[in-house]
Amino acid sequence: MTHIQTTRRAFMGHLGLGIGMGALVASRLPGLWSLDAAEATAVPPRPVVSIFMDLPWVDMTGRAEPYVPPRRAVGEDFSNYPYYMV
């Protein structure tokens, strides 16, 4: 039986290097790493103001088509105007 001598610090360093290389490889494989990364960095959907049949409404899922007023209708200090900040 062969024993490999190592320190706790060296073991953690090798472990970190292995995880990093694994992540690097995985990130090059579509649909593998990217899915986990998206979940890890998921942010709540950004609500949008939308218009349907002349009425404004706020879609909390952010999936509706936002209302973008004509540029001249929007003040310069309201660059986020079409979006509801919650």
């Binding site: 103001v49 049949m53 999936r63 973008v68 509801y84």
Partner: protein
């Protein structure tokens, strides 16, 4: 904290928050000399940012305005309705009330108090100008100053509960048939109907139970019957206690149509059941022998994106568009459903269909509705990315000939619900004027347009130009000088 609407609906849809009076408005074109009366409108305009950003616009403060027309001149006035809620929030300088018709989401100090925002319809009946919200009693306004005078219960003849935004007045007898749903409290299936004669005297009360608790926004009357639609919007005490907005939409939920005789006591009420298409408004109904024929704008699915689907599915804009359909009920049949004909399948809109009101409950030929016509030009660069999402024409439907004629206000305009004003009291059906507010999305202002209903293709014959934009309208009505003198 000061008022801050940043992030709320902006552009043309930002709250206006002011009241106005204009003596002798600017006009282009020529206002017909035989057009004399008042066009009243009501809609929504928020005084304070909502407590919940995804609240329904139907929960915004009631706002009324009027265009008084005579001698080719127009005077304009607007006011917020001074509801109990409006006054409380003005005193507090912030929103106190919660989600649309859910008292549990209001601040404790106002829970249990009236949530009435009085923003849905404005009618002149029994000598009173009434602003209506279906969840609350009618409110009477001064017809000249628009000053709020208080709740109206026909001198205590009817209860002080929910009163529909669409009472029906028989144009021949003057009898009004009105109703209230969730009449015994939020989440109850009880519906009350009142008959009120032309002198303002209540002649009958009938209580019924609906097969489910749902939005019951409108009814129709024929000379013999009352037609009562349910919708896919439901609620319950549990839903409200869970802190949700009043309505949740149930995709596929069957629609029920109740039919009962006008001269009965409600015991003949019969419920028909059909697919889950949505009939929020009606146009008209006629009884022909054993058949009741109902015309209405109908959408395949929910037309209100701010009332979420209970199954979590997303709003479907295509499913929310309406076409004018005819539902025929055979009272002699044992079948519990109806036959449907889509009358004008190529013309879709938001479901605010109207008619020449002199023919309510009677055989008629014409209806009209704001439509979204993608074939008409729309200048998105000047008006914003609203092509296909705003009403850009009035369509006049000829139910007899099966033809459609349209009135187009311009490539940067959207249209609110229009009304019809007869040329004279005895003019033939649809001989008169189409009147409605058009919003110029490029110029950021609104205008009242007047078109000859017999020549809609020629466009507006007059435009009353306002130097500001108007709030979102729900409904409006024309009151001729013969009924209410303009002074």
């Amino acid at each position: 904290m000061a008022v801050n609407f940043q992030g709320a609906p902006g552009g043309f849809y930002a709250p206006t928050r002011f009241e106005a009076y204009i003596h002798d408005c600017e006009v282009t074109g020529e206002i017909p000399r035989d057009l004399k009366g008042t066009f009243y409108r009501t809609g929504m305009d928020r005084r304070y940012p909502p407590r919940f950003p995804d609240d329904a616009p139907f929960n915004d403060d009631g706002f009324v305005d009027m265009f008084r027309i005579q001698g080719g001149h127009v005077d304009y006035r607007s006011r917020h309705v001074r509801t109990e809620r409006f006054l409380a929030e003005r005193q507090a300088r912030r929103a106190l009330y919660g989600y649309y018709r859910n008292q549990y989401t209001s601040e404790p100090s106002v829970q249990g108090k009236s949530m009435n925002v009085a923003n849905t319809n404005i009618v002149f009946v029994n000598g009173k100008l009434l602003v209506l919200k279906e969840s609350d009693p009618a409110i009477v306004l001064d017809p000249t100053s628009l000053k709020t005078e208080g709740n109206y219960t026909w001198n205590g003849q009817i209860y002080d509960g929910p009163f529909t935004a669409h009472p029906k007045v028989d144009p021949v007898t003057g009898e009004m048939i009105t109703f209230g749903y969730e009449a015994k409290g939020d989440g109850t299936p009880d519906v009350v109907f009142y008959w009120i004669n032309r002198r303002g005297r209540k002649t009958k009360t009938v209580w019924i139970k609906a097969p489910l608790v749902s939005m019951m926004h409108d009814i129709a009357i024929s000379r013999e019957h009352i037609i009562i639609p349910t919708t896919g919007y439901t609620t319950s005490p549990e839903r409200l206690k869970a802190g949700k907005i009043h309505w949740g939409f149930v995709p596929g939920q069957p629609t029920y149509i109740g039919i009962m005789r006008r001269d009965g006591d409600g015991r003949d009420l019969r419920w028909f059941k059909g697919p889950g298409d949505q009939m929020i408004h009606t146009v008209n109904a006629v009884t022909d022998g054993n058949k009741v024929i109902l015309d209405a704008p109908v959408s395949p699915s929910s037309p209100f994106p701010f009332f979420p689907n209970v199954d979590g599915s997303p709003f479907d804009p295509a499913g929310g568009s309406c076409t004018i359909r005819r539902w025929t009920f055979d009272l002699s049949s044992k079948s519990d459903t109806w036959e449907e004909t889509i009358l004008f399948p190529d013309h879709k809109g938001g479901g605010l269909a109207r008619m020449d009101d002199r023919y309510i409950s009677r055989p008629y030929r014409y209806s009209f509705m704001g439509i979204v016509d993608p074939s008409l030009p729309f200048d998105a660069e000047k008006a914003g990315n609203l092509k296909g999402r705003v009403t850009n024409a009035y369509a006049i439907f000829d139910h007899q000939a099966g033809t459609v004629r349209t009135m187009f206000p311009g490539p940067t305009h959207s249209l609110s619900e229009g009304v019809f004003a007869p040329r004279r009291a005895d003019s033939p059906e649809m001989d008169g004027y189409l009147i409605g507010v058009a919003n110029d999305l490029a110029q950021m202002r609104s205008e009242l347009i007047i078109a000859d209903a017999r020549k809609p293709e020629e466009g507006p014959i007059a435009r009353v130009l306002l130097p500001f934009r108007l709030h979102a309208q729900v409904h409006g009505n024309w009151v001729p000088d013969s009924v209410l003198p303009v002074g």
